[in-house]
């Protein structure tokens, strides 16, 4: 077992799945020769050749669209969108097609496709390189949305995503790519999609987060008796784990780095308001970015929720 970064863990997952299953192919911009702009696919071209590590032209809709055709034909494509800010051009292929191929054909054709993309803020990158609009994709039945929060979960979830019989959007928190190392087994393991992870147990408040925010949440909760839930899969999300925790603590704080209005925190809060309200002692609070688009680097720390903001919100809900 080795201490790996998230980039290495994802690379390992791809490598192992490609070894295991010749249906797995990777396509995207600069994924081959260059090994990806974050080096996530480094060394895979050398190992698997240009037929399985496909450098495509600069065309996001075609990357996802072609991957749909490949998936329907029987392959297991893993498409990379270079940054989440460029996935919008592929939304039509994702929503009108990937999500619906199985239902449109009443099960005759399926779409076992993974779309990977770096996402989230905090890396001081140019415009559109730090989007965190995961909520868009959580309102489309037929697509799963998965967000790892570290190297270990990245490998286990990506392996599960590649083996999943349906399309999965796999969002990789860019800020975490090299921020930490974790023990990541060489062995084949998967983490089940749709299952949250209780990272820390407590009884006073439930704090729910995913991806790049989890690290900040874990810093913020140190002085509190908090249950911390790492959602891992956003769609379908693990309502049972969330509700069990809220029933125990009676208080909920949801943290995400996307703009507040319409963010995925809304769905979690709504679910709690619908199914857990009788156990609540106070409001369900959301810590989120303000309702503006991601600014350029000089402003990004004013935008992203910080530890202090999380602490303040926990304090607020503890007043009830």
């Amino acid at each position: 077992m080795a201490q790996l970064t998230m980039v290495q863990a994802i690379n390992l997952a791809l490598r192992q799945e490609m070894e295991r299953d010749d249906r797995v192919v990777v396509l995207g911009e600069d994924v081959g020769r260059d090994g990806g702009v974050f080096r996530v696919t480094e060394g895979l071209l050398e190992r698997f050749g240009a037929e399985r590590l496909i450098d495509t032209p600069l065309a996001e809709s075609a990357i996802v669209g072609a991957a749909i055709g490949m998936a329907a034909y029987g392959l297991r494509p893993v498409a990379e969108i270079q940054f989440m800010g460029f996935i919008y051009a592929a939304v039509d292929q994702l929503f009108a097609h990937a999500a619906r191929l199985r239902s449109r054909s009443r099960g005759r054709y399926t779409c076992p496709l993974v779309v990977r993309t770096p996402y989230g803020g905090g890396i001081k990158a140019p415009e559109l390189h730090e989007e965190s609009t995961e909520a868009f994709f959580c309102h489309m039945p037929g697509i799963k949305v998965v967000v790892p929060s570290g190297p270990y979960s990245a490998k286990g979830l990506l392996t599960a995503a590649i083996r999943d019989p349906d399309p999965v959007l796999f969002l990789e928190p860019t800020r975490l790519y090299r921020m930490m190392r974790e023990e990541v087994p060489e062995d084949d393991y998967t983490l089940p999609l749709g299952q949250a992870r209780v990272v820390r147990e407590g009884t006073a408040v439930t704090v729910i987060a995913w991806g790049g925010m989890l690290e900040r949440v874990l810093k913020a909760v140190v002085p509190y008796d908090a249950d911390v839930i790492d959602l891992l899969t956003l769609n379908p999300f693990d309502g049972a784990t969330v509700l069990a925790s809220v029933r125990k603590t009676g208080r909920a704080v949801i943290v995400h780095e996307a703009a507040k209005t319409g963010g995925f925190g809304a769905e979690i809060a709504a679910t709690i308001a619908e199914e857990g309200i009788l156990h609540l002692r106070g409001p369900v609070l959301r810590v989120a970015a303000p309702d503006v688009t991601m600014p350029l680097p000089k402003m990004e720390e004013h935008y992203l929720p910080g530890v202090e903001q999380i602490t303040r919100t926990i304090d607020e809900v503890l007043r009830y």
């Binding site: 809709s61 669209g65 072609a66 749909i68 055709g69 034909y73 097609h97 054909s105 009443r106 037929g142």
Partner: protein, 351 residues
């Protein structure tokens, strides 16, 4: 500007069978009499299906329906060039392709009646579900071609769409990918000269659609889309080329949408009746019948039998479609994913 010439491109047009039914024997594809009759029978079946669909729609037994009248040669001629293992990516106005390939008639009707179960392609066929969103299936065809090549499968992929589709970004991205990877794919555009109310000259300033292939570094050709022999020959050559590693081809079938865009449309609002009349004279079935008459392949009796057989098949399709019970409410949940999400499972149980 006086400059160095880097490259020259030509766009060609293939036509074999003229309106009087005379064929250029030098260009004729190799077809036996039986095959020619089969072509004709399928075109008659396509037209019969289409006529019935319009009737059923008027009677409220089908939903909105896009007629194929006038495009039978483009559809049957090209589909007859396909091999059973080839993959087909239709748009929404290729019922002649479906019928030629043996897609069950009752399923076609079922789909146009608004019942999604009609889109489950039988296991023996590799036809993708009808694509309503114009042009967006082109990348799928390209991806399937990538997969076929990766698998070393000796198949071609064939993708159908209309003139309007050539304006979509996905047309471009898909074509470009096909060119870069020299994929085994044949793109067949039925240029019926209208995209609802938008005529070809407002769809593009290009004089032909075929020339759009120049942008992607592969061959584009225009064929007389009402000439079943020209369509068939071009499709056959392009599919053979694709299967043998020669890369993609773009075939523009110049034809005409004789009917309204769909049963929800009234073409009289936007196009002159004279234009329609001009094209009526170019009817693809009439033309083939003239040829068959010259060849001695046509007789009153043959014609009657052909029409009867088509009518019978269509009647049966309607009967089977209408005999199938309506979908059960729970079927809503059947194919969103391989398994139900917990929330879907709960919703499925709700009253």
């Amino acid at each position: 500007m006086p400059e160095e010439v880097l490259a020259t491109f030509t766009v060609r047009r293939l036509s074999i069978l003229n309106e009087s039914g005379d064929a250029d024997e030098g260009l004729m594809p190799p077809l036996s009499d039986a095959e020619i009759r089969r072509m004709h029978e399928l075109m008659v079946l396509a037209r019969t299906f289409d006529e019935r669909a319009l009737t059923l729609q008027r009677e409220g037994r089908l939903g909105t329906y896009p007629p194929i009248l006038g495009q039978e040669a483009a559809q049957v001629g090209s589909a007859l060039a396909l091999h059973p293992a080839d993959w087909v990516f239709p748009s929404f106005r290729e019922m002649g392709v479906h019928l030629t390939l043996g897609y069950p008639i009752h399923l076609l009707f079922q789909y146009w009646a608004g019942d999604g179960r009609g889109l489950r392609t039988p296991e023996n066929l590799t036809i993708f579900p009808i694509c309503v969103s114009v042009g967006t299936h082109i990348p799928h065809a390209v991806g399937a071609a990538m997969a076929a090549r990766y698998r070393r499968d000796p198949v071609a992929v064939c993708c159908f769409f209309g003139d309007g589709a050539t304006s979509k970004g996905d047309f471009h991205e898909g074509f470009n990918l096909a060119g870069v990877f020299r994929l085994p794919v044949v793109f067949i555009c039925q240029n019926n000269q209208w995209a609802i109310s938008v005529p070809l000259q407002r769809q593009t300033a290009a004089a032909t659609l075929a020339q759009k292939a120049v942008a992607y570094g592969f061959e584009g050709v225009q064929v007389d889309g009402n000439d079943v022999f020209a369509v068939h020959r071009a499709a056959r050559e392009a599919l053979d080329k694709a299967r043998s590693g020669g890369g993609p081809t773009f075939i523009e079938c110049l034809t005409y949408r004789m009917a309204d865009h769909t049963t929800a449309d009234d073409a009289a609002r936007y196009r002159p009746q004279e234009e329609v009349e001009t094209w009526r004279g170019r009817d693809p079935i009439l033309r083939l019948e003239r040829f068959m008459t010259q060849r001695g392949l046509w007789s009153e009796e043959y014609a009657r039998e052909t029409k009867e057989a088509a009518t019978k098949a269509v009647d049966e399709g309607v009967r089977t479609m209408e005999a199938s019970p309506p979908p059960a409410p729970e079927e809503l949940f059947d194919h969103t994913g391989a398994t139900l999400t917990p929330r879907q499972a709960a919703q499925r149980k709700e009253p």
